[in-house]
């Protein structure tokens, strides 16, 4: 497994627009290496967009995002390093160090589970295929899916698919993990198995950002809770501060509705 303790993430004055619509309106977050941040907030508050900006799936219009010590920084100009705007290939390298788990799993339907898992480490990182299959089987064992290695995604439940998607991201030894509502597309009885894998396997030794509606889960797993609304951070603090004793009315109203 990865020996790194996770790289810090520094987001400053981040602005993101879709056309005329301001989706993120000056976001500042500082995450020390290895810490987990839970992002909560109503739909349309910009929390998904926030994590998508971090691995540059969404270009930004202002501010900066720095992940780790690699020197690469996301700005309105794209991904920069030492003042130079990086090309497609370098952006791919930047993304490779950041693991992402999507709401809709996005497994590759034409590949088996093990094919999904080894595709990027072998193809992108040029690691040895046999070694990666061993490593993949080991990780599949840890999420209780070793017997599904040769199965196609279509034959798996949502919870199983999401666990495979987490393993697929972990295979890259990411320094940072991003979770974009990882259980929102799941039947309620399947969320537990996925949350367990996130807590016990995925966030260990990494810096993580989890966008979620599962407040109880966020409380257990996060070092910091960020409550967002209307493209701004309304309130941030420890789970006890934000979830149990929110200071802002907006936060109180949201948490009151969720419970």
């Amino acid at each position: 497994m990865s020996t790194s303790t996770g790289e810090p993430i520094k987001i400053e004055a981040l602005r993101k627009r879709f056309g005329a619509l301001e989706v993120l309106n000056g976001i500042d977050i500082d995450i020390p290496g290895g810490k987990t941040v839970g992002v909560i907030g109503p739909s349309g508050s910009g929390k998904s967009t926030l994590v998508r900006c971090i691995n540059h799936l969404e270009p930004i219009q202002g501010g900066r995002i720095a992940v780790g010590s690699s020197g690469a920084v996301i700005t309105a100009r794209g991904v920069e390093s030492g003042g130079r705007v990086l090309g497609q290939r370098d952006i791919a390298c930047y993304r490779a160090q950041i693991g992402m788990v999507f709401q809709s799993f996005n497994l590759f339907p034409h590949l088996t589970v093990i094919g999904n898992i080894v595709a990027a480490p072998v193809g992108v990182l040029k690691r040895d295929k046999k070694e990666m299959i061993d490593k993949g089987m080991d990780l599949l064992g840890k999420v209780n899916l070793q017997d599904k290695a040769k199965t196609y995604p279509a034959h798996l439940s949502g919870g199983q698919q999401q666990r495979v998607a987490i393993v697929r991201a972990l295979m890259m030894d990411p320094k940072v993990m991003l979770f974009d509502e990882p259980t929102s597309a799941l039947d309620p009885e399947l969320t537990g198995e996925v949350l367990k894998v996130i807590a016990e396997l995925a966030v260990r030794g990494r810096t993580s950002i989890i966008v979620t509606h599962e407040l109880a889960f966020a409380r257990d797993i996060a070092d910091t809770i960020v409550f967002m609304d209307n493209g701004r951070i309304v309130e941030a603090g420890t789970p006890a501060e934000v979830l149990d004793a929110p200071r802002m009315d907006r936060t109180k109203a949201f948490i009151g509705k969720m419970i």
Binding site: S43, A92, A96, N106, H110, A119, A120, A169, E181, A185
Partner: protein
Amino acid sequence: MGLDRLGRLLWEYRDALLSGIWVTIELAFIAMLIAMVVGLVACFGSLSRSRIVSAPAILFIEFCRNTPILVQLVWVHFAWPELLGLKFTAWTSAMIALALQSSGYLAEEFRAGIESIDKGQIEASQSLGMTYTRLMAFIVVPQAFIRMIPGILNQFVTCFKSTSIVSIIAVPDLMYQAQLIVTATFLPMPVYTVVALIYFLMVFGVSVGVRHLTRLLPNFGYFTERKEAPAA
């Protein structure tokens, strides 16, 4: 006309008919192969974000799709020698015209297939550090190809039937041979009826064969009903 006379007639002209069938099959297959390659290139050209690349590709595709095959055929055969200084045998001209026609349609077929792939697939590939080329080659195109099979088959059937037009520039395909036999025997009804049946059996055979093949695909575990995630 008795069946025995029809039999004797066909037997007498069996060489002409068989060589015509062969030319038809050859034209259809080779033109289709060329069209697949040209169509794929044109498709990626049309998807390019650079106008300098996409504009000529789109123009090419639209030209191929929006001109009749008969016009393309005579244009290639009689106009290209003067226009481009390229003079071909009738067989080559026929091949080029058929390939042109099909490549336009196939390019559109490919583009639709590629664009039908869920954006999440591209985002997942990108987040795993894949470049555009890699994610196209290993993730998007393989998935799109399976969806394209019916469209490619349709185009093949169209291309196969279009070959019958090449007889007008004296390519000795099945239709051309039929015309020769009619000229020699003055028996249009039986000859053209038999030729229609031969075309039907060949095209129908291909359709059924490929349809059967695509029906085998689910057994590879890809095509089965997928549980869709509820909308967020």
